[in-house]
Symmetry: C2
Subunit: 398 residues, 2 copies
């Protein structure tokens, strides 16, 4: 281990994606992350298809570098064990419905009595307060209510949900960031204590929508979908190529536009008043898109990139998974690394991002089997004997 | 100021969105962020429309809490001043084309000679290494090449670019997170030095695509667009209402599905073998969507939410900017706060996210005018006199 936060201890009792994204990022950078799961069933993420020999792809990648132990938190004996574990932990990540920890006598206040320096990240659909706090929290709903989905898609299409659990993942990154801020405060101030951080699924995505809230307030602009056009500049779009690929192109400054027009060498683009200024190009956007598309129609994606990139053109092919796997830049950056898993064998996955010069972090193993680290953790942390561990296992507590 | 990272000093010499998002998050939580801009023109983000009395909405919100000073970095006198400023700084954020800092004799190695504890966040389109490193870095291209765009949109539509600068913003959050990890390492280890962090625009979004890289490697699955359906479970979609709204619905576990069917009380949903198991529902997805849509067709969004939410249904309306502005939960969570700007008056914007119990952070002011803090910073930090500042201003160096 060589990450910047080596030595930081994290307990993750959350399920599915948001909290697990936060702990995954911490684990990438060296934290010791213990995932506490329900005995027998474990995190429902383990059941998300598709599967490699019964092992969920999602679990394999999202739980990499983490240790798995089992513990039943909804009975008193399990709660007592949890209170032992929490004593030496820096960060607790939880994602139960608001009120659940309190019901189990594991409220932040109770936990702070045991470990006053604990940083607690609380993930939930709508946060710990407010009229919707008791509603079930799912990313789909958060994405809809953040304002994001209304603007995704095309002018003549329905709104479009993101193609991955975006609300959960953005919340997870906010979680890792804010957890680090709280830990920094705690460990660089003489008297600083722990922290309770309340992270909903809708708010981080709403934070990314920040200009649109102010546009509506001050200018009464209520932006809808604009497909692949950019409302304030042109051209910026995806264009289809002769070999049935898509290429993204952006030439939103006057300089990049003029360079592009010269590189494409199309008479009308070079000389027509309709395309002379950004304002004119916005007015004649459809015509502009048609002219560019006509040029793209006659060329393959490679020909287009080979023509435009040397001139400084801002273009890139829309990559599918195979394109990503084959790209030489992605390969040279080691963005895809292979680890060897005892159950599914050599497995490629996205590497550690971003890249630290001195403390780069690393991928040590893929998502572990349920309870794989029970003996290690219960022996090392709590000094339990083999007999005690067997007994707790038989009783279904771990 | 009351944020967890009060006292941390950040110099941000980046432009547009990625680096500015990182520094914006740090500023929300109490860091002193000094934005260094080119004299006369400033950050191009200032020119992004729409405008409130000549003030860019994007600048107003993204540069809140930051101080603006001017400094010309491409001349030797400016570089010398920069080297004075950097001595007392914790984090430097830069976003120039790779090689630019080096050309100005401000390489990380040079800066570490002056301030060995400096954490340097380097944003660029493709990173500091690899065959594409010299290409211009724009979010559109990063979004295309990350694999994200290929999966966004509908099965029968072109791929769809995200409706906001997603690659930049996700990179920015990764930047704030990783900057905090480096700072934590530095300030909690006896001998730890600064760090150089290399953040491209395409990699953080590729990190969110993590399951798809492994699906392709191990299972040869190359996922395309699936609209608003979720490939592995049903129902999950957006449905249209009688009052022309859209509502997102997710019932991907057997339990939520059965509850939903009972709440909707539609005979076929309750009894048909076609909808009995998740597997069956995926097979008959179109028919399932049609049945649900038929029920939604006859009801307003409010009626639908009022019927389903009390049963625990996972539903939420697709909000536009007006809906976001009016929602009582968003209001009670103080997700939209009003600050008073001397030029554009009272202005609402998204509040600080996430919520810290003890050290909540705050919004102190909107994005400042160009060079507004020149006197304050050059006097306090470098002890320049008014005459020196006037002289540098006249020479165009600040």
């Amino acid at each position: 281990m060589s990450g910047p936060i080596e030595g930081v201890k994290v307990l993750d009792i959350s399920m599915i994606v948001a909290g697990g994204t936060a702990s995954s990022l911490m684990a990438d950078f060296g934290a010791e992350v213990i995932k506490i799961e329900k005995p027998d069933t474990g995190d429902p993420l383990r059941n998300w298809g598709p599967f490699i020999k019964d092992k969920s792809v999602w679990w394999t990648v999202h739980s990499r570098n983490k240790k798995s132990i089992t513990l039943s938190l909804n009975n008193p004996e399990g709660q007592a064990i949890f209170k032992e574990l929490i004593q030496s932990v820096d960060i607790l990540i939880e994602g139960f419905r608001p009120g659940t920890l309190e019901k189990w006598n594991l409220s932040p206040e109770e936990l702070h009595k045991i470990n006053p320096k604990l940083v607690i990240l609380r993930f939930s659909g709508f946060g710990q307060t407010g009229p919707y706090k008791d509603r079930p929290g799912f990313g789909t709903v958060a994405e809809c209510m953040s304002g994001y989905v209304n603007m995704a898609g095309f002018e003549d299409s329905p709104p479009n949900l993101p193609p991955l659990p975006l609300a959960d993942e953005v919340s997870g990154i906010f979680g890792a960031m804010s957890g680090m801020m709280a830990l920094y405060k705690r460990d660089t101030s003489a008297d600083a204590l722990g922290e309770i951080i309340d992270i909903s699924l809708y708010e981080p995505l709403m934070r990314l929508m920040i200009p649109f809230v102010t546009m509506f307030d001050k200018l009464n602009i209520n932006r809808g979908r604009s497909g692949n056009n950019f409302p304030d500049a042109a051209p910026r779009n995806l264009y289809h190529t002769a070999d049935d690929k898509w290429v993204g192109l952006s030439a939103t400054s006057q300089n990049t536009w003029e360079t592009l027009a010269r590189a494409m060498d199309v008479e009308s683009l070079l000389t027509s008043k309709k395309f002379e200024t950004n304002e004119a190009r916005i007015t004649h956007r459809d015509e502009l898109n048609n002219e560019i598309q006509a040029w793209f129609d006659t060329k393959t994606a490679s020909e287009i990139l080979d023509t435009l990139i040397p001139t400084g053109g801002i273009v890139g092919q829309v990559y599918d998974s195979e394109d990503v796997a084959k790209d030489p830049h992605i390969a040279e950056r080691n963005n895809i690394v292979e680890i060897d898993d005892p159950f599914i064998g050599p497995t490629k996955m996205v590497g550690v991002i971003p890249k630290f010069n001195n403390n780069p972090g690393e991928i040590r193993h893929a998502g572990p089997n349920l309870g794989h680290h029970n003996k290690e953790i219960y022996k090392e942390w709590l000094k339990y004997t083999d007999d005690q561990i067997d007994d707790l296992t038989q009783k279904g507590i771990i």
